[in-house]
Subunit: 125 residues, 2 copies
């Protein structure tokens, strides 16, 4: 059997349910097409990264890639998240890679252009 | 002549130059393919929305659509930005429409799936 690999889509989290719902919708195409992918929140909402890691580890997964649902890296991604990951790695004996925030990938800029083109069509309509 | 319409890509802004550079890159495909589009910052960086509006108004533009480069709507988009827009509309006598945050458009979820697929390929490589 190949070594299962888990993707964690990491959102900031909020006590506002509508905010989390937007991220759950953003995650849907990924969750639908990529097995072993899950959403987690840095704070203020559940599940946490640690919850996801503990569950997946119990089923034999030891490799994780964390993809931050953040447009750019601020203090959270430069400091808080790496610290959280270091702690989870120690606690659970897993391997975790923190990917760049999604906003650094060219796909996002292209999606933004498509969104703006739709907005222009609305304004002209 | 058709009535020129200006798109404003609105990012949060930061005193961290690297943060703003990420948003400038995100804006590039839009700025390249859509005439009369510009990036502006809500705070902590320049140009502001008002700077863009004042410049465009001086050249005859009176219609603006603000597309928030935010994944989800929090307090800023529910309260602060609408207040700023109301003030600019009063000051400059223009018409401004605030679009949904980009994260509410399905293109974004699809782009995230594409990003994750690339991350998986890296992890397998």
């Amino acid at each position: 059997m190949s070594n299962p690999h888990q993707i964690i889509l990491l959102a900031h989290g909020s006590s506002d349910k509508r905010w989390c719902e937007t991220f759950e919708k953003l995650a849907e195409p990924t969750l639908r097409s990529i097995e072993n992918s899950a959403i987690a929140y840095m704070e203020l909402a559940e599940p946490s990264m640690e919850t996801i890691v503990a569950q997946a580890k119990a089923q034999g997964t030891e490799q994780f890639t964390v993809v931050p649902l953040f447009l750019a890296a601020g203090r959270h991604l430069r400091k808080d998240v790496p610290e959280m990951i270091e702690e989870i790695v120690k606690q659970h004996g897993v391997s975790m890679r923190l990917a760049d925030p999604i906003g650094q990938n060219p796909h996002l800029g292209e999606a933004i252009r498509d969104v703006v083109q739709e907005e222009l069509a609305k304004s002209a309509g």
